[in-house]
């Protein structure tokens, strides 16, 4: 059997003198701030990254969403029909879709959906939680709620359940058992797409969404 | 005995009787003090002795070896360094160095330079005894300074090695702040190199020149009449650039400055 690049590289690494280095102890888990403190911290951080945060409740979130949509007047809204969020939206639109954006369902593979995807004005997704101390949403896209929803449209509306806001990324990882169950893709999102590549001048929406709007549902 | 004193305190034992003080100490003169700033060396010694600590200057000392070491010539550096190991008696007395750069070389790099060599143990003992001058004055001797000079505005330049390797800037500035009629104005970009960098200034004069130009601009912006530093390499570079531009700013080693302020000369 011929020796491969892999074998040679690993052989060189194995033949090198080693220094023992134990795993550092995991930092002690600090006492997480109360939920309201976590919400406040997340809000502060997200707003500092130019995300728009609106706080609402389980009873009122749909009204808040509809108010937002009427206010902003986007003509199309991309949504994931197979999710609970999608079902709630379909239901609301069925009751009174007047003055609301036309719904566009992400219901087929990207290969046939690409053209349409690039023309929608806004998208709404759920979130798998958030991290308060750095300020970031946790997105865990899947077959029902695909990855590009939160990336391609110019506006991303994210619905976040307040009780899924963790104090730190470490907490979120531990509580969610991430290491045992990594999906195809996860992404932490802390604001709208941005760049400072021209004279360090901050500009938004260079590739991804120009706006990130977070509805925190308490 | 010649012992100019800033003030006499009767509540405490005479400084020269304090059993906690080292006796004696050795002094490493450094090349640049030897060649360009002899008064700084004399002042540094006098200020230690004024505290009642005898100073010995071993003959045969020369360079710490840093130029060769930093240029990638460890064998040459080792030969020069070994000369210092031999020149200083192998005892417990501190080796005081009026330069963060040379002190850093001897304290932090000698052990590695002699690792695996017959002189390794000696180099480690030697390194353990090295102390930068301002730290020695402030932390080991606990000097108290009485300012006898006229009001004066100065700024302070931190050498890279004194700041990052020896970590003695707090001691250096602490000594200046003891001088009641001296106003210390900090540089805006204190943490930045003046452009000397030892052999760097020789090898890359254009970059070095750009750095020192900015450093002098910074010094000038403080409105200080004098720039004080603890390393004569930086001083040589900075005062040269100041002179070149014809600016009315003086550069001085910390020891010379303190001697002048407290002795009245």
């Amino acid at each position: 059997m011929t020796e491969t690049a892999r074998d040679r590289i690993l052989a060189r690494l194995r033949s090198a003198p080693r220094e023992e280095a134990p795993r550092p102890p995991e930092p002690a888990i600090g006492t997480a701030p109360e939920l309201s403190g976590r919400i406040d911290q997340l809000t502060t951080r997200l707003e500092a990254m130019r995300a728009v945060v609106r706080r609402t409740t389980a009873a009122l979130w749909l009204e808040a969403l509809i108010a937002l949509l009427r206010e902003r007047g986007w003509s199309t809204l991309l949504y994931a029909p197979e999710t609970p969020l999608g079902a709630a939206i379909e239901n609301a639109w069925a009751q009174d879709g007047d003055g609301l954006p036309a719904l566009v369902a992400y219901a087929e593979p990207i290969e046939s959906f690409k053209e349409r995807l690039f023309t929608v004005e806004a998208a709404i997704t759920s979130t798998a939680g958030a991290v308060a101390d750095t300020g970031a949403l946790i997105l865990r896209p899947d077959g029902r709620e695909p990855r590009l929803m939160s990336l391609v449209p110019p506006v991303h509306v994210a619905v976040l359940q307040a009780q899924s806001i963790f104090a730190t990324l470490e907490d979120a990882m531990r509580a969610g058992g991430w290491a045992a169950d990594m999906p195809t893709n996860m992404v932490l999102v802390s604001g709208p797409s941005k760049t400072a590549d021209i004279e360090l001048t901050l500009a938004f929406g260079v590739h991804g969404p120009k706006e990130l709007i977070v509805l925190i549902v308490e | 005995m010649r012992r100019p004193r800033g003030r006499q305190r009767t509540a405490f034992p005479r400084k020269d009787q304090n059993p906690l003080k080292p006796n004696p100490v050795y002094f490493f003169g450094t090349c640049l003090i030897e060649s360009f700033f002899p008064r700084a060396g004399e002042a540094a010694i006098r200020l230690i002795e004024r505290e009642g600590v005898p100073v010995r200057f071993p003959a045969g000392q020369s360079c710490c070896g840093q130029p060769a070491y930093n240029s990638g010539y460890p064998d040459d550096a080792r030969a020069v360094a070994r000369q210092q190991l031999r020149a200083f008696p192998d005892d417990e007395a501190p080796i005081v160095v009026p330069s963060g750069s040379c002190a850093g070389m001897m304290k932090h790099h000698y052990p590695g330079l002699f690792a695996g060599e017959p002189d390794q143990a000696l180099a480690e003992r030697f390194a353990g005894r090295v102390v930068e001058w301002s730290e020695f004055m402030a932390a080991r001797l606990g000097v108290e300074l009485e300012d006898r000079g006229a009001p004066l505005k100065v700024t302070w330049h931190s050498s890279c090695h004194a700041m990052r390797e020896m970590n003695v800037i707090a001691h250096s500035k602490g000594l200046i702040r003891q001088l009641s009629r001296v106003e210390l104005v900090e540089l805006a970009r204190e943490r930045e190199c003046c452009g000397f960098g030892g052999t760097f200034a020789v090898k890359h004069p254009a970059i070095s020149g750009a750095l020192v130009t900015d450093k002098v601009d910074d010094i000038r912006a403080t409105g200080a009449e004098r720039v004080i530093a603890g390393d004569c390499g930086c001083l040589l570079n900075i005062t040269g650039a100041i002179a070149h531009r014809g600016l009315p700013i003086r550069g001085q080693h910390l020891a010379e400055f303190i001697w002048e302020r407290t002795h009245g000369s």
């Binding site: 033949s15 | 060649s35 045969g60 930093n70």
Partner: protein, 471 residues
């Protein structure tokens, strides 16, 4: 590049007032932002200590972790490839592209691909490569290389960028408005993302435990490159592996805090597999190319090994007074990224040839790179001269063996920066030594101080002279 060429570059760079202003402003901003994020000194020290320990741990188990990474990636459906040299890595990438008959590639910023000179290679083989990070896009349009690993076009101001866009992007109007320039890039690149057959990215951390590739970015181009095209190829240096998923939070904090002064980047991508059954988007193939290019040899050297702890945040550049004055291009390679500079700038030997002096001990996961300088320089210096020691102690450092691809090894690269062998370096000839060590350096065998030396403190010991207090 020889020393003369470097000196010419320096002269040009120093004469370019615009360039100096750009760099002074940009690097000053980075330093200030970083300080703001790491304002709690004690907490920062703890974080750095943790990061350092994690990276040390990785180095202590590097071959095992790479195998674990490979096994878990493979289990997840990511195809893993190994390359000893950039030439092999480039060929692997091209083979994948050709297998899919792709002619267009979109690429996220990847310093290891700069090290590989991947773009030039692919373009030579008829593949259109579009850099999609805005800074990389700008310099690619203008046929340049990055001048900074985090902000590649930092040497350009908006007027210069306006001209580049107007001249190189079909239909682009001349505008100096940063918002409008960004909009031009967005419109141009969106089409490229949608049409590309392959997306190429780098990797910031590869998690052995889960077979996960972690990429940080602010623009979203990384997400585009790794989600839209049907094939994703990630390239990484073999030092990017980390042990556990739980190691990411502190390392991410250190990286983003140091690189851009952010608590976290806009996007942190965690990619663990190609598109799975039932999923509607994402690439159907994900490849990981693991590049050695001398790293395994660096690993074998106990002194150099810690350079593999570098996370390439670029803070060393921001704080380097030399780099800040002359910019990245004067070096003739991309500091922190280039083929002959597979490690952070401190790796490239030769005083002044790379950012070093006055380096703040800020980033580096407390790796202590400056402490290694003498080591690098010794490896780079011409053969030790016999002058001082009469050759008795001659012990030239072992040279690094030539790299497998024939790229210059450590020694060869840097020797060209020094005077020809046999000629003493200037600093020693002109050095302030007032005397040379006698062979053997025995006590008492030393010359006395020269007469007339301006500073002649009393020698030690002799009665009446040795102790000033007795005067």
């Amino acid at each position: 590049m020889g020393p003369e060429e470097f000196d010419r570059n320096v002269e040009l760079a120093l004469a370019d007032a615009q360039l100096r202003r750009n760099f002074a402003f940009a690097m000053g901003s980075f330093i200030a932002r970083r300080q703001a994020v790491f304002s709690d000194a004690a907490q920062t020290e703890r974080l750095r200590g943790q990061g350092q320990a994690l990276k040390r741990r990785v180095l202590s188990r590097l071959p095992e972790l790479l195998e674990e990474l490979e096994a878990n990636c493979t289990r997840n459906g990511i195809q893993v490839h190994w390359a000893e040299t950039p030439a092999v890595a480039n060929r692997l990438v091209l083979d994948i592209i050709e297998r899919h008959a792709a002619t267009r590639v979109v690429k996220g910023k990847s310093m290891v691909s700069e090290e590989m000179h991947l773009n030039a290679f692919l373009e030579k083989h008829g593949v259109e490569v579009v850099e999609t990070d805005l800074g990389e896009f700008i310099i690619q349009l203008n046929g340049e290389t990055p001048s900074h690993i985090i902000v590649p076009a930092i040497h350009k101001n908006k007027q210069q960028i306006a001209r580049i866009f107007h001249e190189k992007v079909p239909g682009a109007p001349y505008t100096e408005e940063v918002e409008e320039l960004n909009a031009i890039a967005r419109a141009t690149l969106r089409r490229k993302f949608a049409e590309a057959g392959v997306g190429i990215s780098g990797v910031n951390f590869a998690v052995a435990e889960t077979g996960t590739l972690c990429l940080v970015e602010n623009e979203g181009n990384g997400r585009m490159c790794t989600t839209l095209p049907p094939v994703h190829i990630a390239v990484m240096g073999l030092e990017k592996v980390v042990e556990k998923l739980a190691d990411l939070p502190p390392l991410l904090r250190l990286l983003t805090g140091s690189a851009t002064g952010q608590f976290i980047t806009t996007y942190v991508n965690l990619i663990s597999s190609p598109r799975r059954a039932g999923e509607k988007d994402g690439p159907t193939e994900v490849h990981l190319v693991i590049l050695d290019n001398g790293r395994s040899r660096i690993y074998a050297d106990p002194e150099l090994r810690q350079t593999l702890q570098c996370v390439r945040c670029g803070t060393c550049l921001n704080h380097c007074p030399v780099y800040t004055r002359i910019g990245g291009h004067a070096y003739g390679f991309v500091p922190g990224a280039d083929r002959q500079d597979p490690q952070p700038p401190g790796f490239r030997t030769g005083p002044g040839r790379r950012p070093h002096h006055g380096l703040e001990p800020l980033r580096r996961l407390r790796g202590g790179l400056p402490r290694q300088d003498p080591h690098h320089r010794a490896a780079a210096a011409p053969a030790q001269r016999g002058g001082v020691t009469g050759g008795r102690e001659r012990r030239a450092r072992p040279r690094q063996p030539p790299q497998p691809n024939g790229a210059a090894g450590l020694g060869r690269v840097a020797v060209s920066q020094h005077p020809p062998a046999g000629q003493p370096p200037a600093e020693l000839a002109a050095g302030p030594h007032r005397q040379r060590a006698a062979p053997g350096g025995a006590p008492g065998a030393l010359d006395p101080l020269p007469k007339g030396a301006p500073f002649r403190p009393h020698p030690a010991a002799p009665p009446g002279e040795g102790d000033r207090n007795q005067r």
